[in-house]
Amino acid sequence: MAPHDLRRPFKRAAISDQQKRRELSLLRQAQNRRDAQQQARCLASSILSLQSPVPESEPEPEQPDIDLETAIEAEQESGASSKDLDVRRASKLRGPEVRKWFARQLMLPEWMIDVPDRLSQDWYVLARPSGKRCFVVSSNGTTVSRLRNGSILHHFPSALPAGAKTRDGSGSAQSYCILDCIFHELDQTYYVIDVVCWNGYSLYDCTAEFRFYWLNSKLEESGACSPPSYYHKYRFSAVPVYNCDQNGLYTAYTGVVPYAKDGLLFYNKHAHYQTGNTPLVLVWKDENCSQYVIDTDSKGEIPSQQQVVLELQDNGKLATSDDPPVVFGCLDADMIQQSGLDSGNLLRFAISDGGLSFSDGKLEKADLNYLGKSNRARAFADSYSKILFQYTVRHSPLKIDDLLASINSPDDQENKSCDMEMAG
């Protein structure tokens, strides 16, 4: 039996601060390690830079309410944005770079110019609220909404996880959310159409099915759907998502919702959240479910001829913003010379009476009439799907009945023809 240690001198209890310092250091290191790994796990560490002590050095360009025309137009802008999401790099961004980065992070739907296969099995549908598309980020006791161009819309407390500095303490740095929302001016509500990160967990690489499931179970639970209060300035609301069967599609199309609709959004159930344009999310609209079916000009009027914006390439070709670009026509060298145009310029054209002609579903010829350089605010040319959608809207629109019919038909394949019809 080992001899017992001399009893600790009761009255001489030494304060061992060194041991305490060691232990506190270990605790700090363990916490930092957890945060770092968690950050990597959740990808969205970029959010931390929102709280960076360095203020965004450029004054936030005051965005007066963007009119819907621009908002819709803007929808197509970032067609060529990077597909790779490098959040680790993004986490090191500061100031204006943060804004630029955010501007590229939204997933942008293509326009529905034909009905995808297996619509009823593989797709969801929802009625898109009209309003300002934005990313809402809650982190470290505050919530920020950023518009498509990265500029800040609101800075406010919310009931989202880590969204407000409440008395019971805000979440740690690793707790944050990123929601894809549309801010609906009339009822001052953020309608959540997708979730990218929730409470520190990245859902970028998860299927839409999983993301919507997660969103539905978590959003309500967080209290973010409650009416506004001191710690919760704006109400959030989930948008009802339906399986795209007959019932679902019909409900989304006709159902009464508390917001003004701006078309229908279709989500492929298996698609991950992908930044930039994707054919796995589609938008479709007609006069019944949107006020803004046909593009308006800067005065808010519908021009008599459809207008498109194309990019001038080195070889004089006029291309869309798609990757790879679709060529709509060609300018001859003389004309380029005379008008003082350079490659990379975005040019505005009207589609004249000759219209667009297709063969085998491919664009063959477009009757374009040069109008001039486009608005300087534009960063990208139109996408192919947008031009085509606008074209069909003016000529032979894809109707809700076509969609319903495609679900009804025993063989979805048949609906392929619809595209040809339109082109004709």
């Binding site: 601060d17 310092r21 250091s25 390690r33 997660w214």
Partner: protein, 873 residues
């Protein structure tokens, strides 16, 4: 075959350093050239009664040191060497040693007993010396053996019992040993020397007596002999017998009931009237009973069928025990507070009283308060000190409701007593105040005996008394330490302290600067209290004060570098002072970098601070300064990527720290700092990674390095992997096998040993952290690198998931790494196959999803999503 080495052994003890060194080197040469003959020669020397005592003694010591060492690595090596020696040589040595037990020279017998025990510790567990116990017992049973042999034999038995474990002997051997030992204690038959040796041997053999203590007759017999021996004429024997009783109190608490009456009388008489060495053991007996009962009280009553019994001995003895202990308090010695090595009856009595208070709680208060009240005002300082000590001793245990009226009524008296004319009274009063602040002052949880109104007076008294004699000042530091600690994270209450902060800080610095403290104890107490003051201050209100403290401390640290170093004593003093100051800097750095508003203060001073730390490192040649290293970790965390510019100069110290096997704490801290730097620099650490990884791998492979450093090294792999991403690829062939090897060690760990279970949990968590960091680093760049290791990792997770005893933190790390694996490898056929085969995943995730821990649930959902993604797409 043995060599004549007497001359060398004598010369090795010569006063002439030259002669000594030469002899030592000859002996070493001999040892290296032919170890078996060397050891044999030593035992021949030891056994030879014609040789001088001096050479025999040294022969024994060298022999012993050839068999055992403190360092486990070295010890293992010695054991191997011994095992490799030819069996005939070994048995010659053993015979010589056993024969030496009969020597007429006491020192030779004693040394021989020790060496036998060392050989026994190697050979008995391996059953290589079965005849040892028999031949020792033979010495005891043969009537004609002289007392000296019996004494040496009993001593040997005691040492052997101390070295081996109770599983190494069969019950018959245990019985025979106990019989021999207990008979050796018999008064009628044996001389005092034999009885003393027997009693001491019993102390070591008690651990073997489990079975015997379960048998009532045998137990009664042993207890009777021990109690009788506790009344021996010889004080040393009485002390040894009481030491046995102390050991019995701990080991056999459950069966003590029938003997308690006797034991109370025995100990009570010893406390009252025996020599101090005996009385101290008698008090220790009751302290040990308290330890047992506190532990039993602490274990929850629902803990199952094996619940240990609680006999409430202290409660039953209370009316007699408390007065007995109170009496001891009056037996102080003059100047006992000046010397930290003093341990006397009044200190032991007070310590025991404190344990009794923790054992019985409120019941002690009415028994102690009359003593306090009747003595606190007496002219004799002994009475006033004893009364204060008694009061201070019972502050832990009784309820706050019971204590707070008493403390509230007495606080003012105590504050006044800080002006008592007697140093001891002031010392104990300051200690009592620190106990009050420690135990009854917690504004953070809404309770304190100090009102905001009397805080001013409390601080006033403390800051005046800190100028008192060094021993009093040191206790006052303790009081300030606990006073400020109460305000840590205390919400609005933490503001109460802010107005006094400047005064407190300047008094502490003045105290640290005092030169009358003798040793550096007062100074380090003052600095450590200063640390607590900084840590607990309300940052929003006091950041400017702390910002002003920073250059003061930096200046002081700068001055230490200038100190002239002549002796090693100077060097040590410089090191201590630097340790204290680096500690303060670390705390300041951490405090100021904790908020965005104040972080800039650190960033602006970072260059200067780093220059200082590098100078501190420069003061030593072979080791790095532990405290400076600790502070650098905090600085790296504060500065982030900016730390890169210091790396070129700092790197060599980092290397030095990672190579410090002996001071493993330094190594461990350096490993932690590597992690801090990884997070600060990210891939900018790359140029240093070859060196760092090389050293970390060497550390892992070393048997010399304390095992507690190994888990942090694995975690550090994760930090590096995360920081440098795909560049970790070149380390994979080295690091991953180490991780797999460690995982396999975890699988085979002894689950009965609580300490090993703890260690196993740490190791498992750190292996998972390593995988997480590395996987995350490779994610989306080179995930394929990790594919070959995925199967092994999943098997390891499975194994851990099946362990019901696993720690919560291990569960979290395991579930997270599973998600990381799915996330990093991404969706492809191989990954799908990998997870398809892993049926345990669902059970494990299911278990985690049902946890009450939100964080764990979230992690598990996320992991589920990651695996789902792999499987679906």
């Amino acid at each position: 075959m043995a060599m004549e080495i007497t001359q060398f052994l004598l010369a090795a003890q010569s006063a002439d350093a030259k002669v000594r060194t030469e002899a030592e080197s000859s002996l070493r040469q001999f040892q290296e050239q032919n170890l078996p003959v060397f050891l044999l020669s030593l035992s021949v020397e030891l056994a030879n009664n014609e040789k001088p005592v001096e050479s025999r003694r040294l022969a024994g010591i060298v022999l012993k040191n050839s068999l055992d060492a403190k360092d486990t690595g070295r010890k293992e090596q010695l054991v191997q060497q011994w095992m490799a020696i030819d069996i005939s040589v070994k048995s010659q040595i053993k015979d010589l040693l056993l024969r030496t037990l009969g020597s007429s020279v006491p020192e030779a017998r004693h040394t021989s007993a020790q060496v036998i025990a060392k050989i026994a510790s190697i050979e008995i567990p391996k059953k290589l010396w079965p005849e040892l116990i028999g031949s020792l017992l033979n010495n005891m049973t043969q009537q004609d053996r002289p007392p000296a042999v019996k004494q040496a034999t009993l001593e040997t038995l005691g040492y052997v019992c101390e070295e081996i474990s109770d599983q190494d002997l069969v019950q018959e051997e245990v019985n025979a040993v106990l019989t021999a030992v207990v008979q050796g204690m018999n008064l009628a038959e044996h001389s005092p020397e034999v009885r003393l040796a027997a009693t001491r041997a019993l102390y070591n053999a008690l651990e073997f007596a489990q079975t015997n203590f379960e048998n009532e007759m045998e137990r009664n017999y042993i207890m009777k002999v021990v109690c009788d021996t506790a009344l021996s004429k010889e004080v040393e024997i009485r002390q040894a017998a009481f030491e046995c009783l102390v050991a019995i109190a701990s080991a056999y608490y459950d069966v003590l009931e029938p003997y308690m009456q006797t034991l109370f009388e025995l100990t009570s008489n010893a406390v009252k009237g025996d020599e101090e060495t005996v009385a101290l053991q008698a008090i220790e007996f009751w302290s040990s009973i308290c330890d047992e009962e506190i532990e039993r009280e602490f274990e929850s009553p629902e803990s199952g069928d094996s619940e240990p019994s609680h006999s409430r001995f202290i409660e039953k003895a209370l009316p007699h025990l408390v007065p007995l202990l109170l009496e001891t308090l009056l037996k102080q010695e003059e100047d006992q507070d000046q010397d930290d090595t003093i341990w006397n009856i009044s200190m032991a009595g007070g310590t025991c009283l404190g344990l009794v208070a923790r054992t019985v709680g409120d019941a002690i208060v009415p028994l102690v308060m009359p003593f306090v009240e009747s003595n606190i005002l007496k002219p004799d300082w002994h009475c006033r000190e004893a009364a204060t000590y008694a009061f201070g001793s019972i502050l832990e245990g009784p309820t706050i409701e019971k204590l707070s009226p008493l403390v509230q009524a007495g606080l003012d008296f105590l504050l006044n007593a800080m002006k008592d004319g007697n140093n001891h009274v002031k010392d104990t009063t300051a200690w009592t105040l620190s106990r009050i602040f420690e135990l009854l002052h917690s504004p953070a949880s809404g309770f304190s005996v100090i009102s905001p109104e009397n805080l001013k007076r409390v601080i006033g008294v403390l800051l005046e008394s800190i100028n008192d004699a060094p021993n009093v000042a040191e206790k006052v530091c303790g009081a300030i330490y606990y006073l400020v600690q109460g305000y840590e994270d205390a919400g609005p209450s933490s503001s109460l302290l802010s107005p006094y902060l400047t005064d407190i800080i300047s008094c502490l610095i003045a105290t640290a600067d005092r030169t009358d403290g003798g040793d550096s104890k007062l100074r380090s107490s003052a600095y450590e209290t200063l640390n607590e003051v900084v840590r607990c201050s309300n940052i929003a209100e006091t950041s400017h004060i702390i910002a002003q403290l920073l250059p003061v401390i930096m200046n002081k640290l700068g001055q230490t570098v200038e100190i002239q170093i002549i002796s090693s004593d100077d060097r040590e003093k410089q090191g201590d002072l630097q340790a204290s100051l680096c500690g303060v800097l670390q705390v300041i750095i951490q405090k100021l970098s904790s908020t965005d508003e104040t972080k800039n203060i650190i960033l602006q001073a970072a260059d200067q601070i780093m220059i200082l730390f590098l100078k501190v490192f420069g003061c030593r040649s072979s080791t790095v300064h532990e405290e400076a290293m600790l502070a650098i970790g905090a600085l790296a965390y504060a500065t982030g990527p900016q730390f890169e510019k210091y790396m070129a100069e700092f790197y060599k110290y980092l290397e030095m720290g990672l190579q410090n096997f002996e001071e493993y704490q330094v190594c461990a801290i350096t490993v932690g700092v590597v992690g801090d730097i990884c997070r600060a620099l990210d891939d900018k650490i790359l140029p240093y990674c070859d060196g760092i990884m090389g050293l970390l791998l060497k550390d892992l492979a070393s048997s010399e390095l304390h095992r507690s450093v190994k888990p942090p090294i694995f975690s550090c792999f994760g930090d590096i992997g995360l920081a440098i991403g795909e560049h970790f690829e070149k380390y994979v062939p080295y690091a991953l096998p180490m991780m797999q090897g460690a995982a396999e060690i975890c699988a085979q760990m002894d689950t009965a040993d609580e300490e090993m279970v703890d260690y196993g949990n740490q190791l498992r968590r750190s292996i998972f952290e390593a995988y997480s960091g590395i996987l995350q680093g490779f994610k989306s760049v080179k995930p394929d690198v990790m594919m070959p290791y995925a199967q092994h990792l999943l098997k390891f997770i499975e194994l851990v998931s099946r362990d019901r005893e696993r720690d919560e933190s291990v569960t979290k790390a395991a579930v997270a790494v599973m998600g990381d694996l799915a996330d990093a490898l991404g969706s492809n056929t191989n990954t799908k196959l990998l997870f398809k085969d892993c049926a345990f995943c669902n059970d494990f995730l299911g278990e985690c999803l049902q946890s009450d821990d939100e964080q764990l649930k979230e992690t598990a959902s996320w992991t589920q999503g990651m695996i789902g993604r792999v499987m679906v797409s």
